[in-house]
Amino acid sequence: MNSLILTTRLGALAGLCLGLSACKSGEEEASGSPGGYPAAQVAEALYTVLKSERKVYASKVVNRLVKEEKVIKAHEEWKENKALLLPAQFFREGAEEVDDAEKPFQFSYSLQSPWPLNYENAKKQTPSVKEGLAAVTDPESEYYGKKWTGEEMLGGTSYFVGIYPDRAVAAACWDCHNDHENRKDSYPEFKKNDVMGGIVIRIPKS
């Protein structure tokens, strides 16, 4: 009997401790993520910056110096040819810098397309990304030229995924893509302002 009473009291004490700790973590959850902005808003803010930077590079650096002034070339093998990076490479170099940097919270981004010229990029497209890219690039879709959002699990982590339209902003963009040796026959002929692919932004949900 004494041992039964002791066990009961100990069990009650343990339950009280657990309850108190749960209440405490509930308080922490109720305070929200650091900064308080939902992932969708953060992704849209990032997209605004990335879109703007790339537009400046594509139009005011590459298009101006290569197409208009004709003083330098842009080439996939930019180092070998002492040339400018292609806009997609400029974007990717920045993405890798971000991947490598210490950040207040983890996020990542990449430039992808349903019509990839680089097979090594294409192989990384997850089902969610394929769905989102199809949506933002299909003129028949409600998401055409707009953002598409979703979720996915990668490497044991759940991610918010935002896919934002990547438009042909300069002749340097569509001329090169339309003429590329890796271009398949099924690929569209791009023109100004066409959606050529999407900027994929991932933010972990936990």
Binding site: E77, A95, D100, S108, S110, E181
Partner: protein, 473 residues
């Protein structure tokens, strides 16, 4: 007591042996210089020189599991190999894999950690380039490459890195632009001259004032150290004396004015910093980069060495004899003082050596000959200066690195690639012709013609007209 010992003799014996062994191993770990008995397996070439310096690789980082974590971090590797990776624009830097899109590939092979593929102390599974994963590792991520590249459809993943084509960290040998730029050139280029080095110009560009050439009587060594007139005469014959570099510039301690009888490489580094840095990174000087280890000796080498001076410590003076600094001696004879492998033994019968002899006799201009140093200590351009890279291993891992800074000074890329991919030709020190043809340039040319590259099409037609046979090159 003695009866207790007799009754428990097996226990006492066990305690004595275990305690003795434990004491001895502890002494080896903390006190002994030679810790070979603690080495778990044979180390790789190069690393074997510093295998007694465990802390060069094994750090004190917090270990997830003290029984299985080695403490070897990426930083351990990058501390020595980082500069080389940066110069090669590492094709697979770790940052390339940080994006979560790579998660599915990282499940197959953890490309974020150097020791996933380069695991030391495992001689039974160690392949060339110290790779300890099966040779078809590219397949983990590049299945799509074989599916999409017509030229590669029949190739095996085991041949990616072993056929003289690709390298995981340095893929510059096969850059398509580079291949096309050098397509169609003759096997032996019309002009075959090495660029001249210019150490004096480089020294003055560093802000040093020009000095007057010195005479023998200008030697400023203390009288008690001027005991051998031959030394003074040797010094006077060198570029050092002509540039106004006196005895105290090498033998003096700038801060105190003390005299150092045998200055080491740190003295040379005052003016030849780039060369000394290279020396300390290569297999000749890497032990000197670790203070507790002595210099490398021929006896410690894994390559065959001459038995004459097994314990001679390697330093700048080993090749650049003190006070003589004869660069022609350093370029060939110095190497053959120690090296005794097939490649070295075939050198003096090779066409390269014939050119070297003609340069030494003045029958060919300076820079025409091919000595050991021409290939293994290549001349590189850095910021307008021509500097000899003293890391003799820099263009050997893989040997396709020799293409740009060595072979293509005199040969076409096709000829050079064929030669570098022929191990028997390398053993004969390039006496004879390559027996196989590297297909890489041909595939790139075909691809360029297919996409309508007019310059390549014209060049192809011109080459065909020369030979009157279709060029597959």
């Amino acid at each position: 007591m003695s009866s207790w010992i007799i009754r428990h003799k097996h226990l006492v014996l066990w305690l004595a042996v275990t305690g003795g062994l434990g004491w001895w191993l502890s002494w080896v770990l903390f006190e002994a210089e030679d810790k070979t008995v603690l080495l778990p397996g044979i180390t790789t070439d190069g690393h074997h020189q510093i295998e007694m310096e465990c802390h060069a690789c094994h750090t004190n980082e917090e270990k997830e599991n003290i029984f299985t974590s080695s403490g070897v971090t990426n930083e351990s590797c990058i501390a020595c190999h980082g500069e080389e990776l940066e110069q090669a624009s590492d094709s697979h830097p770790i940052r390339k894999f940080r994006n979560p899109e790579n998660a599915i590939f990282l499940e197959h092979i953890d490309a974020m950690n150097c020791i996933t593929c380069h695991r030391e102390h495992n001689e039974k599974i160690t392949n060339p380039m110290a790779v300890t994963v099966p040779g078809d590792y590219c397949a983990h991520c590049h299945e799509v490459t074989l599916e999409n590249l017509e030229s590669h459809r029949d190739l095996s993943f085991k041949s990616c890195a072993t056929a003289g084509c690709h390298n995981y960290h340095d893929n510059t040998a096969l850059a398509p632009s580079f291949l096309l730029k050098n397509y169609g050139k003759p096997e032996h280029l019309p002009e075959r001259i090495l660029p001249a080095t210019n150490p004096l110009t480089r020294w003055m560009d560093q802000g040093h004032e020009p000095r007057k050439p010195l005479r023998e009587k200008d030697a400023d060594a203390p009288v008690q150290h001027q005991t051998d007139s031959q030394i003074t005469a040797d010094w006077h014959s060198t570029a050092h004396a002509r540039a106004g570099i006196n005895c105290r510039d090498c033998h003096g301690v700038p801060a105190t004015g003390d005299w150092v009888t045998k200055p080491d490489h740190t003295s040379c580094a005052a003016c030849h910093e780039h060369e000394v840095d290279g020396f300390l990174q290569g297999k000749h000087g890497m032990r000197l980069a670790h203070k507790r280890l002595g210099p490398m000796t021929p006896a410690n080498a894994r390559l065959p060495m001459r038995p004459d001076a097994p314990h001679a410590g390697l330093s700048c003076n080993s090749c650049h004899e003190p006070h003589r600094y004869d660069r022609q001696f350093a370029a060939q004879e110095a190497c053959m003082k120690c090296h005794d492998d097939a490649h070295t033994r075939h050198y003096e019968n090779s066409p390269h050596h014939n050119l070297w002899k003609l340069e030494l006799t003045g029958d060919l201009p300076a820079g025409s000959g091919v000595s050991c140093a021409t290939c293994h200590l290549p001349r590189e351009e850095h910021g307008g200066a021509i500097i000899v890279n003293h890391n003799q291993n820099a263009n050997l891992r893989p040997n396709e690195k020799m293409l740009r800074n060595t072979c293509m000074t005199c040969h076409s890329q096709q000829f050079a690639m064929d030669a570098l991919a022929d191990p028997h030709l390398i053993e004969r020190n390039f006496t004879g012709r390559p027996t196989t043809r590297h297909p890489g340039i041909g595939w790139t040319v075909e691809s360029a013609i297919k996409r309508g590259d007019e310059d390549i099409i014209k060049l192809q037609r011109y080459l065909e007209s020369l030979s009157n046979t279709p060029q597959s090159n």
